[in-house]
Amino acid sequence: MAIDTGSAPTTAPEPPSGAPPQDLVMRLWRGDASGGRFQEYRVAPQEGEVVLDVVHRIQATQAPDLAVRWNCKAGKCGSCSAEINGRPALMCMTRMSTLATDQPVTVSPMRAFPIMRDLVTDVSYNFEVAKLIPAFKPGPRDPDGLYRMAQVDIDRGQEFHKCIECFLCQNVCHVIRDHEENKPRYAGPRFFVRLAELEMHPLDTLDRRDYIHQDMGIGYCNITKCCTEVCPEDIHITDNAIIPLKERIVDSHYDPVAWLGRKITGRPAPLRASEARKHTGAAHAQPPAAATPEPGDGA
């Protein structure tokens, strides 16, 4: 695979009209699985634009074969995730006015995932993890056949519903970004948000703690908070989802007082991970293919 790291970007031909000197210089990653490089484009700045607008303008005027994934242009679909000047962000929510335009603006695809083409990545890893989340399991209904929840009980989970699955948190998480060998055993921040939402749901009855500990690999997270820093929905992923899950796992796995309390009061032991696995989508699907080890990963 031939990769040019961008030290000497290739420059697209100047537009026939000629570019004024104050043009924006955009460096977009172009390439596929066989290799890639940054390519420079010059476009005239326009007031009020976001990065996605400029990328679209380049696509419309200079690079019709540029691949870019997008959908709503409103920060709600999570499609246009990329790395802008090296920082993971949504292209549609990053205003050009917030970037220093006296130097080139770099737009690269999310580097934690395999390349498809140009700015588009293969995020199917996330969908495979999603199948492994044990589903919501409510208890019995009230005698009148209804489910009832107090408002104070569901307020806490509302924050987690804001997730748009842009996978920027998955992209920035160094556990898989820099240690790909961990992908088969680590769910990632987005799915810890989902698991926290289920674990804190007032009607849910499934105990996923051992499963989160064993199968979802929450112990790999070293809480450096990058997921929280890049979340475009301002979900406090680390403080409100991951750390509460870690503390629940301390309750179930590392706290001898909690263990003694269970022994004395007769409260049930944490549900085994093997039982929780029966509630995943994967439990009803074909057996997964074995994960391929990364050459030379040393794991």
Binding site: T106, G217, N222, V230, K263, T292, D297
Partner: protein, 292 residues
């Protein structure tokens, strides 16, 4: 790895997430830093801050002197590094114990510092700070982990296991260190109250204000701890069934937790300022101005 016997150990092997790894990744190699902002500034500043504290705390702990200003000097200030003072060589006015033989020459600080040290070492905020500043794992967001073999083939760490293995799995004792340091917070509050005692009655000196500020920030840090937030109500599924815990979680531990980083640093600084102030006054560098 589990320490609790009612969780199966060894556990059945987890099923791997069916993902193909080793495919060509998107964008330039991860060792290439594309960020243009000074991403190195935060780990550098926080790392230097922690190092400075370690150096000062080591000096303060082994100093074994000038840590108390008694009523014979018209004040009643005890350094937080030496509270509670448990050694036989502690001044009688502040001695609790003793737990060491007389004339052992053992610094009282060395007996107790393991508890606040363990609390701060396992604190979720400090973990973030030193994993970034010293482990470089990662040094900053979207900057390659120093131990990433896939980003850097010659990386010095050949694998990353996070907090799943010894010794980092010991981070899970955080709540136990919290229990111990709760006692310390109570004692430091007692010291702050004692600092109002002047010859002939109640008074306020600059040292009193420093010790009160130290006590306030210690409590803000202690009660904003993530483990405290969990134990105060975060572990509930239904807040409606526990209104008192819900009130504490909503109005006390969660608001303090939002500023945990701030209080972590403020309390660290007031500990140093308190000790340094008492050392300087005790050693005669200047006298403590009385305000009231």
């Amino acid at each position: 790895m589990s320490v609790i016997e009612d969780v199966p150990s060894p556990a059945p092997r987890p099923q791997p997430i069916p993902v193909r790894i080793g495919a060509p990744r998107a964008g330039p190699p991860r060792a290439v830093v594309l960020r243009k902002d000074p991403w190195w500034a935060q780990p550098l500043v926080t790392g230097l801050g922690l190092l400075a504290f370690v150096v000062y705390a080591t000096w303060a702990a082994f100093r074994n002197g000038h840590y108390f200003i008694g009523l014979d000097q018209a004040r009643n200030y005890l350094s937080p590094f030496y509270s509670p003072c448990l050694a036989a060589n502690c001044p009688p006015a502040v001695r609790w114990g003793p737990v060491t033989p007389a004339n052992s020459g053992f610094s009282p600080a060395l007996i107790i510092l393991i508890f606040p040290l363990a609390f701060r070492l396992t604190c979720y905020y400090y973990r973030k700070t030193y994993y970034r500043a010293f482990w470089l794992s990662p040094p900053a967001c979207a900057v390659a982990d120093a131990g990433s073999t896939s980003a850097k083939p010659n990386a010095f760490r050949k694998r990353y296991t996070g907090e799943t293995r010894f010794p980092l799995v010991l981070q899970n004792v955080h709540r136990y260190t919290w229990y111990f340091t709760f006692i310390f917070a109570v004692l430091l509050t007692y010291d702050a109250i004692e600092a109002f005692r002047f010859p002939g009655g109640i008074g306020i000196g600059v040292g009193t204000l420093i010790l009160v500020a130290n006590s306030v920030f210690i409590w803000a840090y202690q009660l904003g701890c993530h483990a405290c937030r969990h134990l105060s109500g975060g572990n509930l599924k239904k807040f409606s069934k526990a209104p008192a815990r819900r009130w504490i979680w909503t109005n006390l531990t969660t608001p303090l937790n939002k500023h945990h980083q701030l209080f972590a640093w403020l309390s660290l600084m007031t500990i140093v300022v308190s000790d340094l102030y008492i050392y300087l006054v005790s050693s005669g560098a200047f006298s403590d101005p009385r305000i009231f």
